[in-house]
Symmetry: C2
């Protein structure tokens, strides 16, 4: 969904297109996916230093409620914040490497089958679906094996930074 079609969608619902929202919509649209609120805020602040963090949260909430963006957790890689991506037509799973943080997207019939089965099995009306898979990407598997054996060799494992951002 483009920034333009987002704007249209909002206008129809009588939601005002403020300068701040235009900046945010623009960034969400053109930046790659999987932004968290803080990153979006930092990027937005470069365009408008007065733009407040709270406005970012309020805008994301509005877009989420309006179904224009999806909210992800990405297995809480790097903290408990949420990530956002503009809603796509096609449902997809997020596959995240727990070592390097790379996120892959997987489209494919198992997801559609799952959806249909759940709808018919429970008579359930699906609004949101989220599949997140954590593990090690092909590149990190070998590196990780080495790390683990090194860690075992030491008396004490070296602690891993968990919440802090770079």
């Amino acid at each position: 969904m483009s920034a333009d079609s987002m704007q249209g969608s909002l206008k129809q619902r009588g939601i005002r297109l403020t300068r701040q929202r235009q900046i945010l919509l623009d960034l969400i649209d053109k930046s790659g996916k999987h932004l968290d609120a803080e990153s979006l805020f930092l990027m937005a602040q470069e365009k408008d230093p007065k733009l407040n963090r709270v406005t970012v949260y309020r805008t994301l909430k509005m877009l989420k409620q309006g179904g224009l963006v999806d909210e992800l957790d990405l297995m809480h890689y790097g903290g408990d914040q949420h990530y956002y991506e503009t809603r796509m037509k096609q449902e997809h799973a997020h596959v995240i490497c727990l070592r390097c943080g790379k996120v892959e997207e997987f489209f494919g019939d198992p997801l559609q089958k799952l959806r249909r089965q759940i709808e018919s099995h429970f008579g359930f009306q699906i609004v949101l679906a989220r599949t997140e898979i954590g593990g090690y990407c092909s590149h990190c598997q070998t590196l990780r094996a080495r790390e683990v054996s090194e860690a075992a060799a030491l008396t004490e494992a070296h602690p891993v930074t968990k919440r802090k951002k770079a």
Copy 2:
């Protein structure tokens, strides 16, 4: 996984079975699934009023890292806390009603297929997988339709409680 086999698993790793942990393991095991830290804490406090919230968090973290429990978000129904369930042999999706909060579990081949496809497609080594689906259960679908039309009739929609616990 029973509280007994959990205890065995911990003992093997040289982890001490303190009174507090026995209480928590017991509660996690026998109570239904999908407990959050605060509920577990409240239940534990009835058995030992001195038991601290922090101990609950530390225990859950340890069990999660040891692969004895799985952590869920349940689409952030009722807040941003996490929910825990004892790990099952069979992968399953969680289907949560956004109106009444009921959680159903879905087992079925699409999940296994998805897993296999992702492993082979990306050469990915899966450690954790989570599928959460939000929507309306068969019972709530009709009730919800009524609520929505009522809300539309009013000048202002009645706010929905979000974070607070009862």
